[in-house]
């Protein structure tokens, strides 16, 4: 059934359809609409779950950690400062290999305090051991939630679905919600082999030493690498059942014969598609690639799509202070390892909710990032270009 839903509402409805048994959260803008709707569903008896008002995001993450370890499917959501406050627990959830699903309603990180959207919060958590999926629409937000539970539970890895704050969470779009029967047939009932049970006592979270700690970490990394195939396969399954897909690991748009490709993430892609169409109409060989799965970093898929491109631009809404573009840096490393010496231009924009308008995106396509552009963009109202093109 197609409905007009806010991103937050689409997420909450998708979560409800996945039948979580424990939902814990702490309010933070722009995530609150998600948990408010879930709280109402629980209050109305429409979702048979314990809704727990945590005393902080640190507590919320810890509550879902305990609940999933005790055999319940769980959900939490947060953003920005809340995500950072959860950080210690998020590493721990991943290290314990617990299948938690959470939403990050992407928001800038202070100081200065700012409630609007960029990707700094979740990208900062890139080393935490969570699968990270960045969605471009409310429909994909809902669908990715359903996929996320199946991925998390199959891989025993936590999944973070990253949804642009306000741009998606507070924006209405038509969304098709599947029926409960459909979701139940896609997503098996929750089972967790290592759950806490007196009949089968297990010690979870004991100590390790230098002679085995590394093995745990490598096993975690291997599981993340293997999850790439799972992300692809479960998206393909989803398409078979529901007739629409989410883009797997990376999703190309008008890549045929493209000489210039802009790589981006999240909701800004709608504007990028429009610009690509416009430039194509003008006869320019441009295309775009959307990075849906940032962790694990899909090296092979990226290389495959970018191997014969002449110009690559990465437009990203986060910055590693003192190093620059995060995705750009990782992409350069991936391409170089594959023997591809195409320069990767790193453009950072949209920080703290700054609009990335079609005009700005078109300018990014047109202007090669050089020292000249760098100077121009120090004064440009809408974006910064970070440094020079990287020439192999």
């Amino acid at each position: 059934m197609k409905q007009l839903l806010e991103g937050s509402q689409a997420v909450a409805e998708a979560v409800r359809l996945c039948r979580p048994q424990v939902v814990a959260a702490y309010p933070i803008t722009p995530q609150t609409h998600i948990i408010e709707r879930l709280a109402k569903h629980v209050a109305n008896g429409e979702l048979e779950a314990e809704f727990i008002n945590a005393e902080s995001e640190f507590g919320a993450a810890s509550i879902v950690l305990g609940a999933v370890a005790a055999g319940a499917r769980v959900f939490t959501a947060t953003a920005s400062q809340g995500l950072l406050l959860m950080t210690e627990v998020l590493f721990n959830i991943a290290g314990l290999r617990l299948p938690v699903v959470m939403v990050c309603a992407n928001r800038a990180v202070g100081a200065p305090i700012n409630i609007f959207s960029d990707h700094q919060d979740s990208m900062t958590l890139r080393d935490a051991g969570w699968i990270q999926l960045y969605v471009e629409s409310n429909q994909e937000a809902a669908d990715s939630i359903i996929q996320a539970y199946r991925i998390a539970e199959a891989c025993e890895l936590p999944v973070m679905v990253c949804i642009d704050g306000f741009l998606l969470t507070h924006t209405f779009e038509p969304v098709v919600l599947p029926s409960q029967v459909e979701v139940d047939s896609y997503l098996p009932a929750f089972q967790f082999a290592r759950s806490l049970d007196p009949a089968r006592p297990m010690t979870l979270g004991g100590g390790s030493e230098p002679d085995n700690y590394q093995e745990y970490r490598v096993a975690q990394h291997d599981a993340m690498e293997k999850s790439q195939a799972v992300v692809e396969a479960f998206d393909a399954d989803f398409e078979v059942q529901f007739g629409r897909a989410c883009g797997g690991l990376v999703q190309g748009y008008r890549l045929e014969e493209a000489q210039t490709v802009l790589l981006g993430m999240g909701s800004l892609m709608g504007a990028v598609y429009d610009v690509v169409d416009r430039l194509r109409d003008q006869g320019q060989a441009v295309g775009t690639l959307r990075l849906r799965c940032f962790r694990p970093f899909p090296v092979q898929a990226l290389v495959q799509h970018l191997s014969s491109v002449q110009r690559i631009i990465v437009l990203e809404k986060a910055i590693s202070i003192g190093a620059g573009g995060i995705v750009a840096t990782e992409l350069r490393a991936a391409l170089q390892q594959a023997g591809i010496m195409t320069p990767v231009e790193s453009v950072i924009g949209g920080l703290g909710g700054r609009d990335l308008t079609p005009e700005v995106i078109e300018e990014i396509f047109k202007e090669t990032a050089s020292s000249g552009i760098d100077v121009i963009n120090r004064f440009a109202p809408n974006h910064i270009i970070n440094g020079e093109a990287h020439h192999g």
Binding site: Q21, V22, A24, E48, A49, E50, I52, N53, A54, E55, S56, F58, G59, A60, A61, S62, I63, V64, L65, G66, A67, V68, A69, A70, G71, A72, V74, E88, V89, N92, L96, L196, D197, P198, A199, R200, P201, M202, T203, L204, G205, G206, G207, S208, E209, D211, N212
Partner: protein
């Protein structure tokens, strides 16, 4: 299928790596054996976690989870919620040190109590960060020497008072909060057993001497634990819904100095004028606690008649309110 080792019946088995004379190991053994293996144990980071789960080994014969230092009460909240929604009655027990209770864990603990989770939180209080090498916590008593409250030309050890955590906990007006210590096993046993009959959040603070950090002979753990009570420094009390409902009376008060002399952590107080001032201060604190709880009053009456009946209602809330009320208190 029951996979517990049929030849070992203790929840906390022998072979762990606690120091000899460890008050916490003693207390944990007592508490967990009283509760038994049909419970889920949640541990904060600390000595107990380290000495029982060293390097892929485990001394636990019950399901046991450790996450991080500060979050044991929140993890237990989640465990309890999951069990409730899955229709299971398994008790949930938190074990934490004073750092994981008084300091870094206090926020999660307060949240757990306020939300009414059916969890017993046991604090093994050894009055400092022993696992990291004896640093001062907010449970460390006044004038104690720790590595971060060293006595020196300008200092007589810790400058601040031991946090009155039992009052803070009791101020949540929760069903049951009590103090205990290893020297009084029958008292500890009665309190654990009572706690296990009550639904809702319960709290037990067990004073657990640490031979390493308190610098006492490892054979004196029980003696020192008893003196802490007999001096009035550590009253054994019970509070229900915020009201004092019981306190172990003393036949006579022992001088605080007798307690201090057995422990190296107070050694710097002896033989100096400044130290004598602090000893008098500690004696005054003990006297005040004795007066506060009426420990030497043979006819002291606790407010038992004012304690409301505890009822379980709704989806896990504990209540003194009518069954039909949607309020927890």
């Amino acid at each position: 299928m029951d996979k517990r080792d049929p030849f070992r019946h203790n929840v906390l088995t022998s072979g762990h790596r606690a120091c000899s004379g460890c008050g916490e190991a003693m207390a944990a053994r007592m508490v967990t054996d009283l509760i038994g293996p049909d419970a889920i144990y949640v541990n904060a980071t600390g000595c107990l976690q380290v000495f029982t789960t060293h390097n892929q080994q485990s001394a636990w014969q019950a399901p046991w989870i450790h996450s991080v230092f500060a979050n044991a009460a929140a993890v237990a909240s989640g465990v309890e919620a999951a069990l409730r929604v899955r229709g299971k009655e398994t008790p949930v027990v938190v074990q934490a040190g004073d750092g994981g209770t008084f300091d870094i864990g206090l926020q999660c603990l307060s949240g757990m109590i306020e939300r009414g989770h059916d969890v017993l939180f046991v604090c093994y209080d050894n009055e400092a960060y022993m696992n990291t090498g004896v640093q001062r916590s907010s449970s460390t008593p006044h004038a104690v020497r720790t590595t971060t409250s060293p006595p020196g030309r300008l200092s007589q050890g810790k400058h601040h008072l031991k946090k009155d955590v039992i009052s803070i906990i009791a101020a949540h007006h929760m069903p049951y909060a009590a103090t205990a210590t290893v020297a009084y096993f029958s008292d500890l046993k009665a309190k654990v057993e009572k706690a296990m009959t009550i639904k809702g959040p319960r709290f037990l603070q067990v004073l657990s001497p640490c031979p390493l950090g308190w610098e006492h002979d490892s054979a004196l753990t029980v003696t020192i634990s008893r003196l802490a009570v007999e001096t009035g420094l550590f009253p054994l009390v019970e509070l229900e819904h915020g009201e004092l409902t019981g306190a172990m009376r003393l036949t006579q008060q022992q001088p605080v100095e007798d307690y201090l002399r057995l422990q190296g952590r107070f050694r710097h107080l002896f033989g100096t004028k400044e130290g004598a001032v602090e000893i008098r201060h500690l004696q005054a604190l003990a006297d005040a606690r004795i007066r506060r709880y009426g420990l030497l009053e043979a006819d002291a009456e606790w407010n038992t008649e004012r304690v409301p009946q505890v009822k379980r209602h709704g989806h896990g809330g504990y209540a003194a309110a009518p069954e039909e009320s949607n309020n927890d208190l």
